[in-house]
Symmetry: D2
Subunit: 378 residues, 4 copies
Amino acid sequence: LRLLSKAEVIGSYPFKVATELRRRVRELGIRIGRMECGDRNSITDVPVVSVGQVSLVRGEGRLVPGKGPVRTGVTVILPHEGNVYKEKLRAGLHVHNGAGEFTGALQVMEWGIIETPIALTNTLNVGLVHDAIVEYMLEENAGIGDQDEVILPMVGECDDSYLNDIRGRHVRREHVFEAIRKASKEVAEGSTGSGTGMSALGFKAGIGTASRRLASSSGGDLGVLVMANFRGDLIVDGVPVGRNTQTEETERTSGRSIITVIATDAPLTSSQLRRIAARVPLALGKVGSASCNSSGDISIAFSTAERIDTAHVPITPAKEIVNSDALDEFFRATVEATEEAILNSIFTSDTMKGRDEHVSLGIPIDETLELMKKRGRI
Amino acid sequence: LRLLSKAEVIGSYPFKVATELRRRVRELGIRIGRMECGDRNSITDVPVVSVGQVSLVRGEGRLVPGKGPVRTGVTVILPHEGNVYKEKLRAGLHVHNGAGEFTGALQVMEWGIIETPIALTNTLNVGLVHDAIVEYMLEENAGIGDQDEVILPMVGECDDSYLNDIRGRHVRREHVFEAIRKASKEVAEGSTGSGTGMSALGFKAGIGTASRRLASSSGGDLGVLVMANFRGDLIVDGVPVGRNTQTEETERTSGRSIITVIATDAPLTSSQLRRIAARVPLALGKVGSASCNSSGDISIAFSTAERIDTAHVPITPAKEIVNSDALDEFFRATVEATEEAILNSIFTSDTMKGRDEHVSLGIPIDETLELMKKRGRI
Amino acid sequence: LRLLSKAEVIGSYPFKVATELRRRVRELGIRIGRMECGDRNSITDVPVVSVGQVSLVRGEGRLVPGKGPVRTGVTVILPHEGNVYKEKLRAGLHVHNGAGEFTGALQVMEWGIIETPIALTNTLNVGLVHDAIVEYMLEENAGIGDQDEVILPMVGECDDSYLNDIRGRHVRREHVFEAIRKASKEVAEGSTGSGTGMSALGFKAGIGTASRRLASSSGGDLGVLVMANFRGDLIVDGVPVGRNTQTEETERTSGRSIITVIATDAPLTSSQLRRIAARVPLALGKVGSASCNSSGDISIAFSTAERIDTAHVPITPAKEIVNSDALDEFFRATVEATEEAILNSIFTSDTMKGRDEHVSLGIPIDETLELMKKRGRI
Amino acid sequence: LRLLSKAEVIGSYPFKVATELRRRVRELGIRIGRMECGDRNSITDVPVVSVGQVSLVRGEGRLVPGKGPVRTGVTVILPHEGNVYKEKLRAGLHVHNGAGEFTGALQVMEWGIIETPIALTNTLNVGLVHDAIVEYMLEENAGIGDQDEVILPMVGECDDSYLNDIRGRHVRREHVFEAIRKASKEVAEGSTGSGTGMSALGFKAGIGTASRRLASSSGGDLGVLVMANFRGDLIVDGVPVGRNTQTEETERTSGRSIITVIATDAPLTSSQLRRIAARVPLALGKVGSASCNSSGDISIAFSTAERIDTAHVPITPAKEIVNSDALDEFFRATVEATEEAILNSIFTSDTMKGRDEHVSLGIPIDETLELMKKRGRI
């Protein structure tokens, strides 16, 4: 496994956003875990969930704060097709390492419900994206802040400053609105949306998704979407790829956080959804993370099974799976789908050059596959 | 308000356990809060809940570890009249200050269910009482540890070493079994059961209970039982009694913990029960606590509305109150009933002399009532 | 104690912001607790701490979202006089009820340090104020997001929509910068800064502050600043004022959150600062809160004793108070100063009329004092 | 890789406790991670730490509760060679999945110190072992419960009921005392001490240990000891051994918990030690766990760098590593050493037959090594 020199890498420029040449790990013959994946192998296998993304890629060369180069974006997860403020969903949130931001987290942990879309972006853009989600919610709901309750939007972040002019806060109101408008069942992966300028485990990364089909009596799917931007020695299905390829250069490349969004259509309580979100670290270990000091490792899980109107129906019957061993299937599905989603975020990402000639390497696919075959994993 | 001298106090000895002369604050004309209390103004207003206690009072004079003097006991709360291992209940637990023990707490926080009685005792007796509960559960359930799951009993503690030979661990298997056998709707208060040797807010205290009737559509009651053994300047319904009466002597007297058990027959989720348990500190502030460094301030709330069989019915419909403002009534009930239960634990406790001539003063009732009247609170 | 009719109240309009007629409770003869207060009885008794505020009051009549009426603002606490990004401070954070937002909370809980000013504002303005703090920090620190680490600003909120056009998000970048620029040792109280449109316990409230002098060997002060906007029946030093004065009207008036900021110059670890922040609920109970479902009850405590440079001095000697009973003084100081700060926020607030003729009553001071005297509390 | 039939397995009986034939994974050529291990590759590489164990193996055939067969024991970690009650250590605790017991956990989380040895045993023996530790501490410290503070012993547990007569609670006072007396630098692994009757990831397991040398300026070692008894598909250094060998029989075999004890002589705060303990789940994922519903996944980390006397020295200078990237080395060391300790617990365990002819298979070493070689991992 030969590492490209920086010269060669830069020579291969320009990169492509969400290239067709790159593929998801399952298409490459890598099979994570033993459960079946859903039809799309995506968070959007959960029927009502959709995802919209806007990628911002402009300029090259020296960093001029406020000008660029720009390598960033926004990814929005719409929990269902309706008005989530009026029809809230149950949710749980887990903070494995809190060196990151996920606005609205305290309320999710307290109430166990979500009532806005979930937006992902770069660290310094949290404020503007938060304000854009507020504006979107106000437009959709004339009663908010008048006769109805206010809202606390959910905005998660990772730091894309290695490639991006993060000081410029280039994600604006219109990009958030566009991402919401474009939300669909198709989820672009790799260097796209909020993941545009991000890197993980020594390689270019960004957005990834995967899912698992649930065999339990409740049926349904569990889907995962990650914004991957964290450090470690990449392990692909047990094979220590990173230990062979990583240099100090690639170490510096990586950001230090991962936000994980988990959706399921199975009927679960907020406490159970929190427990599911708490299984994400098991997958992080498997791909090579040691959850470094500066890493914001935050995960949220929500269920679309039941819609809740807190204002007008204070008492409601709930379908519920008791905290029994029936949950184990969900835990396994979470670990498997998260591991696969992270790998997808890497394998679908091309080499990218950003500000100040900083380069984040796309994983060398052929060499990696060769190594995987040698190790009997394909 | 004159404080008895130590000589006078000791002269008034022997004390009485759970004296008839002393009365609950409501009978004395002190009215806490604005909600109505239940029929018994007790945790046992929740229909299926019962409480059993054994008090151990033996010997006087110098401490001879293992011999006495003994001023301790055990209090057991039976969550319902049946087999709680087979018919589990939802529960939530809150640790306001963790300098105490409540075995089983981690499982209650994780699973949101309880499956054993709740036992209260002195700090160094936790092990033996834990083992006694295990033995009781094994006798009742031949399958535990064979084809069925094991159990993690719940045992809470406070330190009664100011009066009691705590090194002697005088609470034994037979006392725990006796407390369970004697469990009934009548809850003795003050220096009784596990509260026998305890003191709070500068005065002799121990076990106290109170309840509030719920007006919500779900109906029912919320009842509280405390084992009170914590420091502070006693405030009685807003009147700073302690600031006028407390001396260094009384300060030293008090232990430094409070365990609070909350029961309700309203249908609540484990997450909601945790939130209810988290309202206890509001009552602690009102009676004069600053939750000192060594205080184990731990509270647990459970609902008797639904019985759960995790082994055989993994999926069950649940009646549920959504996390809406409908909860506020429960929060208020918790604060009011906890405040009243603490005051009951003090007002029903006589002066007690324990090991090494240590004396814990019963609150001087006449003087306190006089002060309350002067302040327009009766 | 007669409640003004709505007509009379509106007749007494226009209100005054931070009126001179109103006074702090200590000046009125009300004495909370038994510890001495600092020289200013303010969070700014901690030597390097300063506070800046901008109040926005414009328009009357019908709510026209985006236009007004405006009754809001921003309050900024500067933890020390230098560059807090380069010289970070230890901190701890406690979430008593999480139905609110405090951005940056997860990082404070994980790392135990703060590295930006703390800004307080209304709920829907969190995003814009967050972005303004980012911009301020970027201007002060050219390295952020370039060769240095990014930041996660701390912005806390309460809902002022009863009086304010909260949908208009009237707090802008320039107001945040102005508040920072104006920061000083003088802390205006009542309807000022972020507290401009807020109400608590049935009366107009907003910003309040108080402090306690520490007698411990470490010396120093502990100061508290609150943004008070929560429900309950007002209790003033044990006297249930609210139960006599409150109506459904006043109940509706109040928001449902309180953010508490605690500063001290004593050398404490982040874990100890978290424990101090966790004493705030004890004070909330004392003033009449039951911590309602929708209340964001969040508190943060920081120490100015030691400045930390995480980038360049990874190992540092720390002066430290062990988790021993020496902490009890800090806990008591926190409860006392928080109670007094909340009362100050109410007693310094005049009646205010806001959007749609909504009126929040200033506490009737003469009648309240009369009641206090009758109850022997002055 | 051929799985032995049950007949063959039982034919290979009697098993050996802590056999010499079995070896630690490093001796077998399996190398976990990239850091160097300490001299002993053991928790006892931390200079003052020692471990004592007593294994109880008696009887065969049908379960007769109270009689046997007995396959259990107790493992005690002594944090330093002195009196840990008088010279306390800093510690942090993390609950990844709370379906287990670790008494004293709440106090460790609140105070960040430990003051007793750490004992590990089977689930139903927690009470008796707790009481034995109390007795040991009382014998060593005449002041406890008299003029000095009481204690809350730390006892962690896993369920060994698949092989052991857990209802018999065969671990008694004398076994705990013997384990303490025998404590030394030599740590037997596999089916020994509290791990005697335990199984993990489909194979016989029990106690395992490993360590990593710290390169940081602080120097020192970080050592890990596990009591491994949890479910999943065994992965050995990335190779999915379990997926090839596991049957329903082996699945049933495994208990469902893991207790992890981490020691280091580097100077860390309790908050940092908690963060280190929180890295354990990353290792659990790597060996194949999905942290099932009934799993008590609890970890504790302590530092021997500084001894604390809370009673008499309230203020002490502390050497401290700030929460900076200097911590990353500790996090990596924790993940690596935990993974290796778990594997050691499996590779050093022989097949064991317990109650009711229940058999837990020792991992077939030759076949596993062959598979590892085929996958290029040796």
